[in-house]
């Protein structure tokens, strides 16, 4: 198979659910997505945006109303679940409670009619891969949440799927464990070079783990790209807001440049793609770390809130009509205090014109 061809290709997949009240919800609205072989794709979005439905359609646990899903060029959306070379790590782990850890992992291999000597070897290898050697004879109920998570992972990976689907696998773990598992998952993905598709609503997790991030909103994919690209160049107000924090300002684009109310004018040639954008009212996103505040007794903004976020200071200021958030490393400057007057400025290159 030619290396550039996507491992998984989703074309115009639509899925509608009936609500109990008789209405209809578009869980997926003509979604298309290509996932490169051996990559780590994160489907990111708020709850109810359709990302899990897409995962279930790929796994075969849900049938799309229309559209097509291909795995390495072979159509799979009309295949029964058990014939797809795709495995899932479930949010609830879904470990079989009456089986031991080893039996759980062996289950999928038995389904593939792997000889029992080979199953034994593979179970051992899988347990070692997730650092659970020696726990094969335990029941899932005797393991901690984090260990159960690893068993679920080992069980799915033992089958050596073409694509591994992970449905919010870390959401039940506490923060510290989650950080550890994030790098663990990335390591496993690199070592096995299996294509991973992970669903999450946590944008930090998406940024930390994905080679590519697909941002979902209301049943549609609104932006796909590398985490950095999606962060720096959000293509819509939704993405700018959902990923990280953003100041979204209203402005107007005319023939000369961008006019932001009460803040100033930016010539078109200094904006990214500035010469291509049509004139009219626009939104402009600015990340808090690109907002500079200077103490200025006659400044137009007044500090309303100061807080420490990790190693940064987050400062909220209020101008005549806007609330603007700024973020600077705490070592760099002495923090302003509430009530201080400041002037606000942006790095022009960091401005990003976004669709509504």
């Amino acid at each position: 198979m030619d290396a550039s061809a996507p491992a998984l290709s989703v074309r115009d997949v639509t899925k509608t659910f009936q609500t109990p009240e008789g209405g209809q919800v578009h869980a997926l609205d003509s979604v298309s997505l290509d996932i490169a072989d051996g990559s780590f794709m994160v489907l990111l979005g708020p709850s109810g945006c359709g990302k899990t439905t897409l995962l279930r359609c790929i796994a075969g646990l849900e049938a799309p109303d229309s559209g097509q899903i291909d795995l390495r060029g072979q159509r799979i959306d009309d295949m029964p679940v058990w014939r797809r070379r795709v495995n899932t790590v479930f949010q609830s782990y879904a470990l079989f409670p009456h089986m031991t850890v080893a039996q759980n992992i062996a289950f999928g291999l038995q389904m593939d009619k792997v000889p029992s000597a080979a199953i034994k070897r593979k179970v051992e290898a899988s347990l070692e891969m997730v650092h659970l050697s020696g726990l094969g004879s335990r029941k899932p109920s005797q393991l901690s949440g984090g260990q159960q998570q690893r068993v679920a992972l080992a069980r799915a990976l033992a089958k050596e799927p073409e694509v591994l689907l992970l449905d919010e696998p870390l959401s039940a773990l506490d923060l510290k464990l989650r950080r550890g598992m994030q790098s663990e998952l990335k390591r496993l993905q690199r070592e096995t070079s299996i294509t991973f598709v992970l669903v999450t609503h946590d944008q930090d997790e998406a940024m930390a783990m994905g080679d590519q991030v697909a941002v979902f909103n209301a049943g549609r994919i609104v932006q796909v790209g590398e985490p950095r690209e999606v962060y720096l160049r959000p293509n819509s107000r939704f993405v700018a807001d959902f990923i990280g924090e953003a100041n979204v300002l209203t402005g107007r684009l005319d023939t000369y440049g961008l006019v932001i109310e009460s803040l100033g004018l930016v010539p078109r040639d200094r904006l990214l793609d500035g010469t291509l954008l049509p004139a009219g009212p626009v939104h402009v996103a600015v990340r808090p770390e690109n907002v500079t505040l200077d103490r200025d007794p006659v400044g137009t903004a007044k500090v309303t809130d100061v807080s420490y976020v990790g190693g940064d200071i987050r400062v909220e200021v209020q101008t005549a009509s806007l609330t603007i958030v700024s973020r600077v490393p705490s070592q760099r400057v002495a923090p302003p205090s509430i009530g201080d007057r400041v002037s606000v400025s942006f790095a022009v290159e960091s401005l990003c014109v976004v669709a509504d």
Partner: protein, 339 residues
Amino acid sequence: MGASGTALETSDSATSDSATSDPRAPESRTPASARRQRQAGQGSWWNGLPGLVYLVALVLLPLFIILVYSFLSRAKLGVGVKWQFTLTPYTELLYSESLSGGRSFDPTYLQIIANSFWYALITSVVCLVLAIPIAMWLATRPPERRTALVFAVTIPFWTSLLIRTYSFIIILNDNGPINGALRGIGLIDEPISMLYTPFATVVGLVYTFLPFMILPIYASAERFDFRLAEAAYDLGAGKWTVLRRVVLPSVRPGVIAGLVLVFIPALGSYLAPELLGGGKSSMIANVIAAQFGASRNWPFGAALSVLLLVITLLVLIIFAIVAKRASRAAGRGGWEALL
């Protein structure tokens, strides 16, 4: 698991909290014995008194009387007992005494016990085979409809078992609706004799005990996490494998409870063999009833009762052992995991 573990910890800390804070409470100046706070999960032994009275008066005492009677002699006219110790009732189980006074081995009663076992076994198996799909179907209905459907399963309990068993005489007899329907569609010319056959007995038993199999299996199936079935499909299992290796092991507690609830009362059932079997397919309970009635041999009836009791206990012990062994085998899969 996590959730229950947390609950335990909370209750632990709650009790230890109250234990440490109690002495500091103002009430603690009154005598400690009078003011002692009752901890959750601890009741006074008085609370058990009604149950204790019930057990002693209505279970242990009658059992004791039966046990005593089984070692006494037959009364002159057969009603009651003569207070004279003897083992005759127990030897009568295996030997019959001829008029000339000689003893010979008589398998009649062993045969009846074997019969009872056989009927109880068939009843349990048929009930199990019918109940599993029904229970699974119930458990997969939307929650708001489940309640009504489970309610429907209990409808037979609304009338007396006697009346319901009589109704099967009407259903199964030569001119009943089944024969009528079969003749109506021209499948048969002569009616099929169903009433007063072993078949009728088993039909009656299955009808009587089916709800006792459905309800416990349903209770287990309702708690089944269907995401486990999804996981099994995802790992490459087909429908039958999912049923055999994931669903059935999960409803195992319900199956065991159902088997106990069906097999044991079926072993001692009286009405179905009496009314539908026509006396031709007697079970042990019919023989016991006859000893206290027509045959007027109370000690022998008592000995048969003791025997039934011992058999029932043995069956329960075997169930417990098999269940324990099977739970260890459950993970390996296979039908033995069901038990």
